[in-house]
């Protein structure tokens, strides 16, 4: 199940934030925010996507750039609110 979620988020990040011709590799450990793939502004749309997809509300104070800096970190946050 967690692997499905990982794939879902990785696919979303690739589709939403990378250009079609991008050769950038994204896996569960890839730095998303600190590498500049997802800027802090776009992070808001990523958070909204997760909230819609998993029907949860992630508090703003939990949604820090560090907490969203990799797919693995995002999964950790999600696990606090939903069983995956």
């Amino acid at each position: 199940m967690a692997d499905d979620v990982k794939k879902l988020i990785i696919d979303y990040v690739k589709k939403e934030y990378l250009e079609e011709d991008s050769t950038q590799e994204v896996n569960e450990n890839t730095k998303l925010i600190s590498s500049g793939i997802v800027d802090s502004f776009s992070m808001v749309s990523l958070k909204m996507f997760l909230e819609r997809k998993f029907n949860v509300k992630i508090p703003d104070e939990k949604a820090t750039p560090e907490a969203f800096d990799s797919v693995n970190n995002i999964i950790k946050i999600l696990k606090e609110y939903v069983t995956i």
Binding site: E16, S35, G36, F41, S42, S45, M48
Partner: protein, 415 residues
């Protein structure tokens, strides 16, 4: 004293972090009026040096124009220095309303409200226009002040890949259940100098029943045949619902900004926009000078025509010289260097050659997209442009980057 050693230590660590990240911003002291040629003391204590300015937003060269300065002086004498009030208590002179009406007419919008800056116009607008039932759909490269303004609004935030109309359409489809949707974009993007596809955006807005907002700060006064902005350039006058723009760039460059658009939205800003309500009025001297600016650019397109010709010449010659220029029509001409240190080194060497430009790098621009952003002005004469092109060519040769593509520059200097 409550400023403890602990607090001092904390702030010093923060500042050290900024320095170590190569992000520490230094000011350079200019000892002359803003113009194509300026006298600069840099670094502090160094002898004053005369340089050509290629990094000002002085697109029309009106910042120190004699007629504008004379109008400011007259305004100062006739209407005083300050108003010591917000607009709605006792801070509105007749000239404030005259300028608002002139801006509405120039921009082709229903009504206009002045703000202390465009930053504050953007900070106030979205909270007034939208609530949690609505969606803001913004281009991912919009200006920081728009990002801050959207954060202050309770509306749902969506963004689309830069100028990617298919992605925007997806977002419009996703948000069909919202009460109002507002598409939010810059007119000219400040770091890349590219112009918004406003005709396509307005088509999508019509198809999906969305409103359109444009920040035309880097366009008002010179983009479009009469300089009205990107809505004129893209042939969609009357189809844009709200424009925010600044008086602090082409329109004299002193201070102030505005929201211009559908009259109900503008009136609601007058009633509710917090940066408008709780900031001091724009000083009379700025208002008087900006009225002169709007008169000048309404009467003649000579300055924007010269800017257009200068931009075309500069872009062509820089490309011929082998520099890697981002394509476009605007007077923002980014010279791509990709590597942050290279951008800083080239800017420093250009300064030694008498050309004042600044290197930009992550996080101001995306990682690996470091550049020098040059900005052309109607104040530049052909000789100024030739001197800058010669200096870029000389420094480009020094670093062996002329005629080189991105991959080759990255191979030499890293990303």
């Amino acid at each position: 004293m409550a400023y403890s050693g602990k607090a001092r230590e904390f702030y010093n660590i923060e500042l050290d972090g900024i320095r170590q990240g190569g992000l520490f911003k230094e000011e350079r002291y200019i000892k002359s009026p803003q113009a194509a040629t300026i006298r600069v003391e840099y670094p502090p204590g160094a002898p004053t040096k005369e340089v050509l300015n290629f990094c000002a937003n002085n697109y029309l060269g009106l910042s120190s124009h004699p007629e504008v300065v004379a109008a400011a002086r007259k305004g100062l004498e006739e209407r005083g220095y300050g108003m010591s009030s917000v607009r709605f208590i006792c801070g509105t002179q007749d000239i404030h309303r005259i300028l608002e009406n002139k801006l509405s007419e120039f921009l082709g919008m229903e009504d206009t409200l002045l703000f202390p800056s465009c930053m504050e116009a953007n900070a106030g607008l979205f909270e007034v226009m939208l609530d949690k039932n609505d969606a803001m759909i913004a281009d991912r490269l919009v200006h920081a002040s728009i990002v801050d303004g959207m954060r202050l609004s309770k509306a749902q935030l969506y963004n689309f890949k830069h100028s990617d109309m298919a992605h925007l359409e997806e977002k419009l489809q996703e948000t069909q259940n919202c009460r109002f949707r507002l598409i939010i974009t810059d007119g000219v993007f400040s770091m890349d100098g590219d112009i918004v596809k406003l005709d396509k955006i307005c088509e999508l807005a019509e198809k999906y029943d969305a409103m359109v907002m444009v920040d035309d700060s880097h366009a008002t006064g010179f983009i479009g045949k009469h300089g009205k902005g990107t809505h004129e350039y893209c042939g969609v006058m009357g189809k844009v619902d709200v424009i925010t723009t600044t008086l602090g760039k082409a329109l004299g460059g002193a201070a102030g900004g505005c929201v211009s658009g559908r009259k109900e939205i503008v009136e609601l800003c007058r009633q509710r926009a917090r940066p408008y309500l709780f900031s001091n009025t724009v000083p009379p001297v700025v208002i008087a000078a900006t009225i002169k600016v709007v008169d000048l650019i309404s009467q003649s397109t000579a300055r924007r025509d010269k800017l257009e010709a200068n931009t075309k010449y500069f872009r062509e010659k820089m490309i011929q010289a082998g520099l890697d220029i981002k394509k476009g029509d605007s007077p923002i001409v980014p010279v791509m260097l990709y590597n942050a240190k290279l951008a800083q080194d080239v800017a420093r060497d250009l300064y030694a050659e008498g050309i004042y430009v600044v290197g930009f790098f992550f996080p101001v621009v995306p990682q690996g997209q470091a550049r020098i952003r040059t900005q052309i002005s109607a104040d530049h004469e052909r000789g100024h442009l030739d001197k800058a092109i010669a200096a870029f060519t000389k420094i480009g040769e020094k670093y062996k980057i002329l005629g080189k593509k991105k991959d080759e520059v990255v191979a030499m200097y890293g990303i």
